[in-house]
Symmetry: C2
Subunit: 165 residues, 2 copies
DNA sequence: TTGTTTGTGTTATAACATAACATGAATATA
DNA sequence: TATATTCATGTTATGTTATAACACAAACAA
């Protein structure tokens, strides 16, 4: 994973994250002959509004506001497409979706989730993957997909809890 | 994690798993002054029927058959208790529950989940934890809880797919 | 321009989980 | 033993997340 991920820095220019994500998505869709339709682009943008994973139903009002149909299948279909393209990830422990900061190449996703500010930051899972591979190999298990979700406190929130106490 | 876990061996004496789990649970509850009520014990037994995680709603008919109330809260309460005691784990990616093979001491749980036979086997997450700790420390994240779920093919099913092809 | 694929609208429902309050059983305390 | 208290369960209702199924329309390919 590249280190362009702003991670838990609270002061990064998030508009840049969004713009970058949309640009990359458009570019990749062109390359892959996939259609980034208005609904899909809007959902991607909404998911990127911040680093806090959003539930599918939280997206519906915004879809309605934009004049689209806003029944659940609409948003789930868009999310499914975006996941297939690697533009967003689903966080199983939260039933929520978050933008992927580096959709340009396939990768295993892992997340650090702050239970205080609710941000989820993708982490470098290469070392974790090596450990998992070794464990799996021991028992002869063939890995196809890895889900790593770590819950805890991000640096910002640790500090806030410290000063607050 | 001890290596008494039968893992993906299809020919282990599973009744032994069940008996052992129930005995350990009773013992631990006695030590901890917790009440392993009939409902809780039944749910634990049901979850242990095999190594395939069961959904909460799949337990309801068996509860009804045993003469208990079988509304969702009943089973969710039992599952909550069993999770608190460390007797069962929840698999977030499956919305399902599975017995813990070594509830005697607290531990981080990780699972290898076979998408063919649906069995979920707990794995030794110590190496994974070390990798995660290192990654988390780099960004100053304080870990409180780890969720590791690996999907793939177990040895048995790899063989079956090979012979079938 | 015709057929085919792909995306969307729409209705309904499935699957998973919890809130809230009443009742009863077990335990602790007087 | 009586009484208070805590804990577990029964019960009804509802909240939350996700998908099935089919109709229609837009894009694309031949």
């Amino acid at each position: 994973m590249t280190q362009t991920d702003p991670g838990f820095h609270s002061d990064h220019d998030h508009q840049h994250c969004i713009d970058q994500a949309l640009l990359t998505a458009r570019d990749l869709c062109r390359q892959r002959r996939q259609r980034l339709t208005p609904i899909r682009e809007l959902v991607l943008k909404l998911v990127w509004q911040n680093h806090q994973p959003l539930g599918a139903y939280e997206l519906l009002p915004a879809l309605a506001a934009a004049g689209f149909n806003s029944a659940p299948p609409t948003v789930y279909r868009a999310l499914e497409f975006l996941q297939q393209q690697g533009f967003v990830h689903r966080i199983a422990s939260l039933n929520a979706y978050v933008g992927c900061p580096h959709p340009d190449r396939p990768h295993r996703s892992g997340f650090l989730i702050c239970h205080r500010c609710k941000r989820a930051i993708e982490l470098d899972t290469a070392p974790v993957h090596r450990a998992l591979s070794a464990s799996a190999e021991e028992v002869g298990f063939r890995i196809e997909q890895e889900l790593v979700e770590v819950v805890g406190l991000c640096p910002d929130c640790q500090q806030q809890e410290a000063t607050h106490a």
